[in-house]
Assembly symmetry: C2
Homo-oligomer: 338 residues x 2
C-alpha cells in the first residue's frame, strides 16, 4: 500500500472523492437558510418531525439535510445548534450572517464553474462583458443587501485604521460603497465627518437606508455612477476603496488609484479592504483561494499580495503603505498616503 511521504498514513483517494462532492456543501447551507432550518432548530426541540413541520418540508429531506450539516460541523446531533450555528445562522442572533448565502450562493455567480476549463484556457470569466463588474450588474444590489452582516465586524477596525484618532471635520469618499457600512462607520466614529458614497444608484439606495438606521444620513451624500467615470469632487481627507481592486488588472487599478490620489488632500489617506494572500499565493487559505472567484467572475481580477498592492499605490504616487490584517477575518486593510 502506498503511503504519504509526510505522515506514513495510508494514501487513499478520499480527498479527491471529497472534492468532487464539495458542491453539495454550498447547496446544503443555502437550502437550510432558505428553508429557515436554523430558526426551527433554535425553537426546539430539534427532532426531524418538528423541524420538517416548522419548515413545511418533507421528513426525508429534512433528516438528510440536517444530518449533512452535522457531518460538516454546522449542526450538532445531540444539541441541535452548535455554537457556530447558534451565533451565525440562527436569525435571532445579532451576529447572524445567514443572508450571505444569497450572494455567495447566487446561481448566476456559480454558473461559470461549469465552464472552468474554458475559463482557464481563455484566462477570463465565461460571463458576458466584464463579468460581475459589468455596469449596473444587479448582483451588487444583492451584495449590498445581503453581505452587510459579514462586513459589519470589519467596519470598526477599518474605521480605527483610517481615522487613527482623527476627530475634526473631514470629508470621506467611499468608492464602491455597497451596503455603505464602512463610510457609515467613519461617520459614527467621527461626528464631524461627512461621507460621500459612490456606487450605482440602485446600490446607493441600500447604503442610504443603512445610513438612516445608523442615524448619520444628515452627513451622508450619494454620488451615483462608475468609479472610473464619475467626477470624484473633493478634496477628501480619506478615500475608502473596499472589496474593489480585486476585480481589475494592475494597470486599471493604477489608473483608478491615480484618480483617487488626485481627489485627496496632501497627506490624505487611501484605504483598501482586500483579501491579501502571502507572497506564496497559497496561504492563508481563504484570502488565497479568493483568486479563483476572481478568475471565474472577472476579466482580469486577482487576490493581490501586499507587495503588489503596495506597488500599485506607489505607481499612483502614494507613500507610507501599511497593511493591517483584521483579526478573526480573512481581510486586510492597506493604507497609503497621498
Amino acid at each position: 500500500m502506498a503511503s504519504t511521504g509526510n505522515t506514513g498514513a495510508p494514501l487513499t483517494p478520499a480527498i479527491i472523492f471529497d472534492m468532487m462532492q464539495a458542491h453539495h456543501r454550498t447547496a446544503a447551507l443555502k437550502a437550510a437558510v432558505d428553508l429557515d432550518i436554523f430558526r426551527a432548530i433554535g425553537d426546539g426541540p430539534g427532532d426531524v418531525a418538528t423541524i420538517a413541520r416548522s419548515c413545511k418540508a418533507s421528513e426525508r429531506g429534512t433528516r438528510i439535510l440536517c444530518d449533512f450539516l452535522v457531518i460538516n460541523g454546522v449542526l450538532s446531533k445531540a444539541d441541535g445548534h452548535t455554537p457556530l450555528s447558534a451565533t451565525f445562522l440562527d436569525p435571532r442572533s445579532p451576529a447572524c450572517l445567514a443572508s450571505i448565502a444569497q450572494f455567495l450562493g447566487n446561481s448566476a455567480l456559480h454558473e461559470p464553474d461549469q465552464h472552468l476549463a474554458d475559463i482557464v484556457r481563455n484566462g477570463r470569466t465565461s460571463l458576458p462583458g466584464a463579468g460581475t463588474v459589468e455596469p449596473e450588474n444587479p448582483v451588487w444590489v444583492q451584495f449590498a443587501q445581503t453581505m452587510a452582516p459579514m462586513m459589519a465586524p470589519l467596519a470598526a477596525p477599518l474605521g480605527q485604521a483610517v481615522l487613527a484618532g482623527q476627530s475634526g471635520p473631514m470629508k470621506v469618499l467611499d468608492i464602491a460603497a455597497g451596503h455603505g457600512l464602512f463610510g457609515i462607520e467613519i461617520a459614527k466614529q467621527n461626528p464631524h465627518a461627512h461621507v460621500t458614497g459612490l456606487d450605482w444608484a440602485p446600490v446607493l439606495r441600500v447604503a442610504l437606508e443603512n445610513a438612516k438606521k445608523a442615524g448619520v444620513s444628515d452627513r451622508y451624500n450619494m454620488l451615483p455612477g462608475s468609479a472610473f467615470e464619475v467626477d470624484f469632487g473633493g478634496p477628501y481627507d480619506a478615500v475608502l476603496l473596499t472589496n474593489f481592486l480585486h476585480h481589475f488588472d494592475v494597470p486599471t487599478n493604477v489608473t483608478l488609484l491615480k484618480k483617487v490620489r488626485a481627489a485627496l488632500k496632501p497627506g490624505g489617506k487611501a484605504a483598501t479592504l482586500e483579501f491579501v494572500p502571502n507572497d506564496d499565493r497559497v496561504s492563508p487559505p481563504m484570502p488565497a483561494a479568493f483568486a479563483l472567484t476572481m478568475l471565474t467572475t472577472t476579466e482580469a481580477g486577482d487576490a493581490y499580495t501586499f507587495a503588489e498592492l503596495s506597488s500599485m499605490y506607489k505607481e499612483a504616487g502614494f507613500s507610507d503603505m501599511t497593511g493591517h490584517p483584521i483579526p478573526m477575518s480573512p481581510h486586510t486593510v492597506v493604507l497609503g498616503r497621498a
Copy 2:
C-alpha cells in the same frame, strides 16, 4: 469575543464562508482533469508557463487553478505533484482515477443542487421521473466508462467476501453490472465461475469490453434490461447487487431482494456493495454524506445502515447477514444467505 464550548478557540464564521465557496473545489478538480494539468505537472518542470503551454491554457488561469489545488492539498508548491496527485491523478499512474471527475462532475447531476430547498420541501429529486434511475438514463454508460478506476480496488475484497474460497463450477448474476468489474473479478478469482451481467444494453457493452480485457469474456453472458422487469434465470450460487439499493426505498428493495432470493440456489449468497453509515447516520463522514446525493438525484433512495439493510434482507427471506467494510474505502459489502 465568543468562543466555542469545546476548544476555547475563538468562534469565527470561517466554516460558513468556506462551505459557501466549496462549489469551487469540485469545479477546480474537474477543470484540472479536463485540461490535463496533472499530466503536464508530471512532465515537469512544473512552472506556470510550461504547464500553461502544455495545456494550451492562459497563464493567469493556470496559475490561479494550480494555486487553488495547492491550497486544497492536491498539488505541492515545492514539488508539483503530491503523493496524492502523482498516484491518483497523473494519467501515467496505474492507480489513476481522474476519469471519475466526468461522472462526479457531470453538470446534469449537479443541477438539482440549484433546487435543493425545493427538493427538501418535496422529499424527492427535482430531476424528471425517477431521477438518475429513469430507464435507459445515459448517465449509467458514463458511470460504467469512468468510475471503474474507483471501483477496481474494491473488486478483489468483494470477490473474496463472496467466494470465501469457493472454487468449483458456479453461476453468478451481477445486477446493475455497470463497468462489470465485480462480476469479472469473480470470474478471475474462480476459473470455473460463469457470470451473467444485467444492466441496460448500452451499459453492458462497456462491461463486455472489460470482460474481454480481463480474458474472461468466454464465461461472461449479458442479460440486458431492468432488474425489476427482466427474468433473472438461474438458479445462481451468488447474486451481486452493487451500488444499487441506495437508489430506492425500502419496499422496492425488499421486492427486489425477494426476486433475488428466488433466483438463488438454497444457501446461495446475495452481496450488496453500499455506502453504509453507522446508526447515527452522521459517521463515517463519506458514507453518511452520500445520503444527500441520493436525496438530490432519486425519488426515495438513501444511505442505509447495516441494521436497515439487514432488515430488508430478512424481510426478503435471507439469513446470516454479515457486513464487511472494505479497508481504505467508504464502501461495505453486506452478505445474506438464501
